[in-house]
Symmetry: C2
Subunit: 411 residues, 2 copies
């Protein structure tokens, strides 16, 4: 497996893309992206669990339900989420797809739709229409970076990742883009990701591998614990790599594809956290020795979502009591007399410092803990001493800037 | 039922109290409170659900388990939580109780202990010893207000409440004090409350009525969703009012006592929220029409705990999409096409404004919503249209000041 330098979705053979300014955002920034494959693709997607799923989520679920092997385009707008928009919003999501299909001469139900931005306002359909025409005219094989910029909201930079991997003698490319910033949370949260590949793979295998990869990447990051109405991670596979068809989850080819896709997803997910709203620290939370992986996940997420832990991280205060406290209310099985806690900042060359040994503080030096918490990259490790359960979750701190950004998002 | 003016725990006949500066806090503030009844009391308590329950919680559970009718004193220190302190911490909690029992000539196992403050450091037992001696010497029938000040941490003001109520021809007094500030959350979170009454009531009835009152008061408020290691709400009933013994939960006397105790608990709980760390707004979240009360509670708490909702409240931004979004991921049963949303600020004379009608925005004027969100007291009401389930939860906003306070709490 090899990382691609400056990867974009158009690093993948057979894909073209464009990003244009359609005027959906008040600024003149790019706000509409179009990604198109030369040939119909096999597609799969993972969607938000939010009960107020936005119109494009409902639309895509339906389309993928009956046409998972005939997807050829994805249109994405920022600036308006088309969520909580009722029947008009549903009609607009469908019309957006139809506009693309018409502009490109594609089959019906071959275009997926994603939207992100403010909730509760209708899409400006005339601007969308013009934007789609402009984007269709601008499609090119170097258009991936414009597309990656056009899907951003409060993100400060585009997020892309890509690898190539040898499968059955063929060179397969996997590359993607995503947007995040606020409302990033496990189980998908105002987070859009589109991954393209030229692998030949069945719909069933693609669905399985995407779910597995999302579980350990996008579902293992959290900025503020909020789960949005629009979250979508979709993958399109156009089969042009010419590899033997991947269809058996027990095969070596599947394993190679899974490893590569997971690497792309983790790369994108970590970029989401690093660019979390107001984030000043990148924090890895590791929980080992839990009764089960699910318990480990609960404990790790409770730490990662605790406002008290996150503000302490922001302040560089190695307040380990708050970390154990979060584990204690997480719902995970805990024996206080077995729990141990460690801090590190590997990137700064500071190895694991044990601050709690089976429920009681060690005689560590406060300055050693403070040195780790002062770094921009911090690792927190909890050993529960109860079993084999493990989880890793990535998060960021809670800063003044987070409050600034979110107190006045709409204004 | 009548509210008491300037209530304190010593408003209750038969109780004396003191608050002293024992030097546990770095500042010279009061940090040790002692509350004592002339005669042994029936007692009950509700404790934190956190798996890392602090030593005083473990101690009090044990004592109440075998001596619920012989409690005569409560000692409370701030500045050190005696949590995550292992066997030494357990021994210190027991020694604190024994010091009080010795100083006052009380029976063994007649004193409860509460601690609040930093987690993971041992109690300074010499200072505690001296503080207990000073407090024992200072006990007086007007000492309730000193006691209320001595239990505070980052609180900006003492919190007390009290009522009198006629039960079976006798005048019964119920009065209490509490501390909160950060880490306030349903299911009890670095929140200590002590309520005293002169009612004559059985231990069984007292236990039932306290649990019910806590459920709709302390467990219905949230500042940041964190649940601490030390939370305790305890009640002592000395029986001096001379009312006929309250023992039957189906009796009128029980109902009168429950109403009065609930009023005291709600008063205290709302004071906790108003004094939440950095709070600038007091927000009432009401959910009606849920499938069940439990579902309504889930939805209300998801709204109240969402950092995105709380920062929007801070900014005065009537961002209703975030509110519905929180309902959508709360786990409550939701039909998007039936959910409606209303804002009000009753205190400012601004009645309910409907912003969402069965899943879709109404044509309300943004300035009308903004006018409500600009007020210091805001009501949010969600109608789910699915059943009879109801919940009310109180919360505050998430401000820059919250980040300031918590980024450097220990330093």
């Amino acid at each position: 497996m090899q990382r691609i330098t400056s990867p974009t979705v158009t690093s993948v053979p057979g894909f073209v893309a464009a990003g244009v300014a359609a005027g959906i955002k008040l600024s003149s920034e790019l706000d509409l992206a179009l990604v198109v494959s030369e040939v119909p693709c096999t597609a799969a997607a993972v969607f938000t669990q939010n009960r107020f799923a936005a119109a494009p989520v409902v639309y895509d679920r339906t389309v993928l339900g009956f046409n998972p092997m005939g997807i050829q385009a994805v249109v994405i707008n920022s600036g308006c989420a088309n969520a909580c928009t009722g029947t008009e919003g549903m009609a607009n999501a469908r019309r957006m797809a139809e506009m693309v299909e018409r502009a490109l001469g594609l089959e019906a139900h071959s275009c997926l739709v994603m939207s992100t931005g403010v909730i509760g306002t209708q899409l400006p359909m005339e601007k969308i229409q013009r934007g789609i025409q402009d984007a269709a005219a601008a499609l090119r094989s170097a258009g991936g970076s414009d597309a990656a910029r056009a899907i951003l909201t409060t993100d400060t930079r585009p997020k892309t990742a890509g690898v190539t991997v040898e499968i059955g003698g063929a060179r397969v490319t996997i590359a993607g883009m995503c947007k995040g910033a606020g409302m990033i949370h496990p189980n998908m949260a105002t987070m859009l990701a589109l991954i393209c590949t030229d692998a030949a793979i069945t719909h069933e295998a693609l669905d399985v591998v995407l779910r597995r990869a999302v579980e350990v990447s996008f579902n293992a990051v959290t900025v503020d614990g909020d789960t949005s109405t629009n979250d979508t991670t979709a993958i399109l596979a156009n089969g042009l790599a010419g590899n033997p068809l991947i269809d058996d989850p027990a095969s070596l080819a599947f394993a190679a594809f899974e490893e590569a896709l997971t690497a792309v997803c983790i790369d994108l997910a970590q970029q989401l956290v690093r660019d979390g709203e107001g984030a000043t620290k990148f924090v890895t939370v590791i929980v080992n020795g839990a009764k089960s992986d699910a318990d480990a996940r609960r404990a790790a997420k409770a730490i990662a979502n605790s406002p008290l832990v996150k503000t302490a991280l922001y302040g560089g205060d190695a307040n380990w009591g708050r970390i154990l406290c979060a584990v204690g209310y997480s719902g995970a099985e805990v024996d206080p007399d077995r729990a141990s806690l460690f801090f590190a900042s590997k990137q700064a060359g500071l190895d694991w410092l044990q601050v709690v040994d089976r429920g009681q503080p060690t005689d560590y030096k406060e300055e050693d803990a403070a040195a780790r918490f002062a770094q921009p990259e911090i690792e927190i490790r909890v050993e529960l001493g109860l079993g084999e359960g493990h989880a890793t979750v990535w998060t960021c701190d809670l800063s003044h800037e987070y409050v600034n950004i979110n107190a006045h998002y709409r204004t």
